[in-house]
Symmetry: C2
Subunit: 337 residues, 2 copies
């Protein structure tokens, strides 16, 4: 077979995807955010671009809670932990009289809203440790199959943001590796990251607890210990990216103060870079909080005025959910609040 | 263009690599080790095989020192550390009278051979910390460009084992992701893993020290701190694989007692698995140590009789460098010892 026919074949095969997908971001309204994404991808992946980034250096990192899916009124993982407290309560009669468990069992929302970091640490230690890594994955999968978001009354895995799913697919179609870099539990997110976001477990970087290698019935297992190993938030996001990837991202996406270091770390890379913050200003279709007001900030997931100021100063793009997103959810359009 | 021509094109493109590479392992002698590799790859990747492993689950992990390149008489990283002690000595006059630095500066090989783990910790803290992650990478690259192995008189990066390079390429050509899982320093290995082994930084799992996020002249940097964060050896290899990959390997390759947990962790996976130990029994072309005798085991990198017994019991394949490898080094055949 002549070489020219082979070359023609290659051209045809390479050329196909471009025809199949005219607008890669149909859930984004026209505007500066969408334009910035399209420009960035073209500048860093077109073969003739002076800003071309080699494929092996195409790294994009995404915060999860509030950036890829709903995180109000509580992180999904916090709801999982509270449900686990209820499930484990029969084995812990002392919890009826011991805080923070007492408040959880009494479903005292005001008290739960005021839990300190050490309250949550006690709850995580009681609910996320003491089982094998495989056993924990099963617990999370079982919970996800049954649990519903208290307002939207849908499984959490259906509350991923459609525009962000499109963005991740678009970046991957252009040779980018998409990583989740979450303050949440690494193993928790790995239970659904591949199914919901198309992100395999080795591309999920998160907070983790210690695991201990043991032989049980002649088989090696990793048991989860009630002790923090790594916190992947704020400076931890830059540290985690270096630890797990060993390369700086070319693009990074967050929604809260805990993502600032990741965006700075990305901006300090060379070439064209894209830093974006998802701004929850849509009280109709989702929530409005941070400087957009409407809801009080929770302690975690804060979008402070200082972050808004830094975004402006550093030319980070603030994505308005209200103006920039045509649709918010993937499988359905949910009723207003 | 008719669909049938497109299909023909696809077949042609897919069919090409098979013709281009008749024997994927030319540096391996015929024998049980080579047969086991060929059988494993066919069984886990042929579309009609009942043992077919989905592409996203094709993970192969490799120890580095002694498995992928020469680790005697000292690990390359230990030689780097000793050279750094010499380079930094003018700034540390107290080292002339303080162990373990005094022995290093006096080039007292007998004393260095007896260094304890805490001696090495002092040396690592003095030579691997106090600079940024980028600064450290530069130091390692500079050293690699100049340093030579004391016996072979070649750069360390030319002392990778050709049969293992062929094996890694062969696995990758069949959809496997190849990871390095090393007791050595993660950042040290990342300085050359892509160039020498074709393994990108995010696929290097190793021991690491703490890093601290700081702003310097308005730019974020990660400074290396003189404190251990994670030891990726023995149980740490199973823990590190779960932490970084979140999936069990289908194949694992080691050469010492520190790799046993990684091989057990791999064997506890489902389906066809391949566990191999590289056995240094070639005093002519490289070294003979462990039960093969010839050289005393160093404290690190030991191949004990217990490991040999476990290999036999668990049907792990012991690769004889002398019998199974036609050639040992990549760019040249080195003179005998």
């Amino acid at each position: 077979m002549p070489r020219s026919i082979l070359a023609l074949c290659a051209l045809l095969v390479v050329g196909l995807p471009a025809h199949a997908q005219p607008d890669p971001l149909p859930s984004w309204n026209e505007g500066p955010a969408k334009q910035a994404i399209l420009h960035f991808v073209k500048a860093t992946t077109s073969k003739t671009s002076p800003q071309l980034v080699p494929p092996e250096e195409r790294i994009a990192t995404f915060d999860q809670d509030g950036t890829l899916w709903v995180s109000h009124p509580l992180y999904a993982q916090a709801m999982f932990a509270l449900d686990r407290v209820h499930a484990l309560a029969p084995k812990h009669p002392e919890w009826k009289t011991t805080e923070p468990f007492k408040a959880v069992l009494a479903e005292d929302k005001a008290a739960i809203g005021k839990f300190t970091e050490s309250d949550w640490e006690l709850i995580v230690a009681a609910t996320h440790a003491g089982m094998s890594t495989e056993g924990f994955l099963e617990l999370v999968k079982d919970w996800l199959a049954k649990a519903k978001h208290p307002h939207f009354q849908k499984p959490h895995t259906e509350l991923a943001y459609l525009p962000m799913l499109e963005l991740m697919r678009y970046l991957r179609a252009n040779g980018y590796k998409t990583y989740i870099v979450t303050g949440g539990g690494q193993e928790f997110v790995r239970a659904y990251s591949e199914r919901v976001y198309g992100v395999p477990p080795q591309q999920v970087i998160g907070s983790s607890i210690l695991t201990k290698y043991e032989m049980q019935n002649g088989q090696p297992v990793l048991m989860r210990e009630p002790k923090v190993f790594f916190i992947d938030d704020h400076a931890g996001k830059a540290i985690g990216i270096n630890l797990f990837i060993g390369r700086r991202p070319q693009a990074a996406f967050g929604n809260s103060d805990g993502d600032a270091e990741m965006l700075r770390w990305t901006q300090a890379n060379a070439g064209d870079r894209l830093m974006m913050l998802i701004y929850h200003d849509d009280a109709e279709r989702e929530y409005a909080y941070g400087p957009a007001g409407g809801l009080p900030d929770t302690k975690v997931g804060t979008f402070s005025q200082a972050l808004m100021d830094e975004a402006k100063k550093n030319h980070w793009i603030v994505v308005s959910m209200k103006k920039d997103w045509k649709r918010i959810f993937s499988s359905h359009e949910l009723a207003g609040r």
